[in-house]
Symmetry: C2
Subunit: 265 residues, 2 copies
């Protein structure tokens, strides 16, 4: 079975399958139309700074849910779910180093841990595709190209750092539509942060992304940059917290709401 075979299965059923250890692969393509989220789990003492950082930088840090300290249930976006078991693969970080990539984090769970789910670009990419706008890295079956920019996030407590962006080449005539149809989703990164000349945001070579894969930019296409959910993880890793858990790249949490639930118009 491939991820796309689960496109029509409910989030609850897929989470159950993941919880039982029957699915340990990336989640893109599963539960089509439902929101997938990035996971960050922090001790409560750093959770406050993280909340403020997210509040000050909503485009790269769109929070979908915050759990009560010690309770791994994301009550807003998936009542009954368990953030310590319901993702297919995690990364456990100690002093900023990844020490394990387990398929659950039950043994690491503590009474002071707070789970954050953050919106991800899968949601607005669905909107782009539905609007007839190509999404190159999907066409080319690659990871989206990501870049560290010279746009500084507003710092909060110990957390600071540059904004990370993802790039999608858009045919020039479709750029306005791409702005409008992603702008409908401010809770999942929203409208682009930059359109056109990469050097204006500190990107030396658009063909050499800092993370992910390069994609083809065809004649007549404009590189369009959106705030990326890697931004908050990068800010956290920068402070090398004593303890932290994240999802493994591509192994997201699948929530109950649909992408459309986050549209503001």
């Amino acid at each position: 079975m491939k991820a796309f075979d689960y496109a029509g299965v409910s989030p609850r059923e897929v989470r159950q399958m993941i919880r039982e250890g029957k699915w340990t692969l990336p989640t893109p393509g599963m539960c089509k139309g439902h929101v997938q989220g990035n996971l960050v789990i922090l001790p409560k003492d750093l959770a406050y700074d993280f909340l403020v950082f997210a509040q000050r930088n909503p485009k790269p840090c769109p929070i979908l849910d915050v759990t009560e300290p010690g309770n791994p249930e994301p009550k807003i976006v998936a009542p009954g779910a368990d953030l310590s078991t319901d993702l297919p693969r995690y990364r456990v970080w100690v002093n900023g180093e990844c020490v394990e990539e387990p398929t659950d984090v039950k043994k690491y769970w503590r009474d002071d841990l707070v789970g954050f789910l953050l919106g991800c670009s899968f949601s607005f990419e669905g909107a782009l595709l539905e609007a007839g706008i190509p999404v190159r890295h999907i066409e080319q079956n690659r990871n989206v190209p990501m870049y560290i920019t010279n746009i500084q996030c507003a710092p909060a407590g110990a957390l600071k750092g540059p904004m990370v962006v993802s790039m999608r080449p858009i045919p020039a005539a479709q750029v306005p539509k791409a702005v409008l149809c992603t702008g409908r989703f401010p809770a999942v990164h929203g409208s682009p942060v930059h359109i056109g000349d990469p050097s204006l945001i500190g990107i030396a070579d658009v063909n050499k992304p800092d993370m992910g894969d390069p994609v083809d930019i065809n004649p007549g296409e404009v590189p369009v940059f959106w705030a990326c959910g890697c931004t908050p993880q990068a800010a956290i890793m920068d402070v090398k917290p004593p303890f932290c858990i994240t999802h493994a790249p591509g192994h997201m949490f699948i929530a109950d709401p649909k992408d459309a639930d986050y549209a503001v118009f």
Copy 2:
């Protein structure tokens, strides 16, 4: 001098005037087009719950800025300003009781205090007026009518409670436009939470608001309800925190950004 005489004065100048004690009256009408914010100042231990509460209930709790603990400068919306001096009147609360209504709170300031500025309905009322939609309580020179609903906010830590809403009667044909033009401002309460029959959200008599003044609802008009910034203050007062400071009603903080800066489309 009346508030409207300061419609064209900059926020920085008006804040300076307030800081020097030369203006101690309500702020509506001052610095036209600039955002005015509700103030809540909390000790850091309760600030975390408040941030989570706001994250879970963004419509009634639209946070514009959060200060660093101990520092009264709202660096995002008004660099150089001072939340302990730049509002014309405050309320100081001890164990849930208002003990003083001073014109500054310098003597109460502490190293563990965090200031929150929350969006207010003045911003979207400007948008309604510009769209040619009447705002009845302004026409009638009254306070906006506010109601405690049966819509429960998502709780967070110690904070819970019902959503408080404000009501504006809108001519039926203009209701869609009122939805669209306030929906552009999700950071300042956004689109309505309810349109029409007040009983569906637990309001027994629309002519008897829980706070504020009743206003006339003319034939052919529909009562339209927006989430109200009184909601978070009510949730805080419900837990009777040992210490808390708020603005006095109508005596808001005038920030640098313009209302238009918060429009998402």
